[in-house]
């Protein structure tokens, strides 16, 4: 099987539709399972009471906000290096969902910070760099809208995305590099997690739900972008016939 076949929008369009539907349903099922674990099975925390239950959306959203940016940077690099238009479309499709995840991370962080730290917001390194991430997503979207020519917009957005990628390690390591109000990481790839197994399970299930949600939404959006941008290309005329899309 030749996988490069799917680097062409014409071949990718129907595949993206099928995948989006499958991933969307997986996301729904995982979210139900994750919320069930998070609210029905996981016990009340002995220090934080029930306020800690915000973790089941805060941490997955914060991880996704950084991860989506890195994927966006990957597609941007590919689109610059190979001049591949589908890669640029993928980067374009990810930006709004990345901004959404960043907003959720900031918002739920504020609503968690208030009862546990006594403040909704502090200008510490973790929160400030996450806010900058939100502005980077907004910047990429605004830049795209400001340039009429799609291919020029692709290049400009790719450069901005790649320059902004330096912020992601800053967010990730901010709790080590600076003295922050935000706590250090509880989960590490190299050490045992410092939290109860059932809470960790709920959080990971919600992370996979967020993952599948982001993929599904990005695939639906890339289909819209293909339709919007490839208008007039001969192959697209078959796409919107009844029963085909």
């Amino acid at each position: 099987m030749n996988y490069f076949r799917y680097s062409s929008p014409a071949a990718f369009y129907p595949l993206a539709g099928t995948l989006a539907r499958v991933f969307g349903w997986i996301a729904v099922l995982l979210a139900i399972a994750g919320l069930w674990i998070g609210f029905a099975i996981a016990p009340t925390d002995f220090q934080q009471g029930d306020a800690y239950r915000i973790i089941f959306i805060h941490v997955p959203a914060a991880w996704m906000s950084m991860f989506i940016y890195l994927v966006m940077a990957f597609w941007s690099a590919l689109s610059l290096g190979l001049n591949a238009r589908l890669s640029a479309m993928m980067a374009q499709a990810l930006a709004p969902t990345g901004a959404l995840m960043t907003f959720i991370a900031l918002w739920t962080g504020a609503f968690w910070g208030r009862p546990t730290w006594g403040t909704y917001w502090a200008w510490d390194a973790r929160m400030t760099s996450e806010l900058i991430l939100l502005f980077l997503y907004f910047g990429v979207i605004a830049l795209r809208n400001a340039i009429d020519d799609d291919r020029r917009a692709d290049r400009a957005c790719a450069v901005l995305t790649l320059v902004g990628a330096v912020n992601v390690p800053i967010i990730y390591f901010s709790v080590q590099w600076w003295n922050t109000l935000h706590q250090g990481s509880t989960i590490s790839l190299v050490a045992a997690p410092r939290m109860a197994t059932i809470m960790l399970t709920g959080m990971l299930v919600m992370t996979f739900a967020a993952w599948f949600y982001a993929i599904a939404v990005a695939l639906v959006r890339v289909r819209c972008i293909i339709l919007e941008r490839e208008q007039g290309a001969a192959w697209t005329s078959q796409l919107t016939e009844p029963g085909k899309s």
Binding site: G49, D50, A51, I104, W107, T108, P115, C224, T240, S245
Partner: protein, 49 residues
Amino acid sequence: MSEFLTMGGYGFYVWGAYGVTVLVIMIELVALRARRRAAESAHAKASAR
């Protein structure tokens, strides 16, 4: 049930966090559906010519 809603006194914060999350996800899904419909109908019009 009311115990569930009050979240041990943290109801405002827990439901404030979850509520807004659900709200923005709904906004994204509705906006995306509108965009898909607009793209499909613009495209159907263009290819009918």
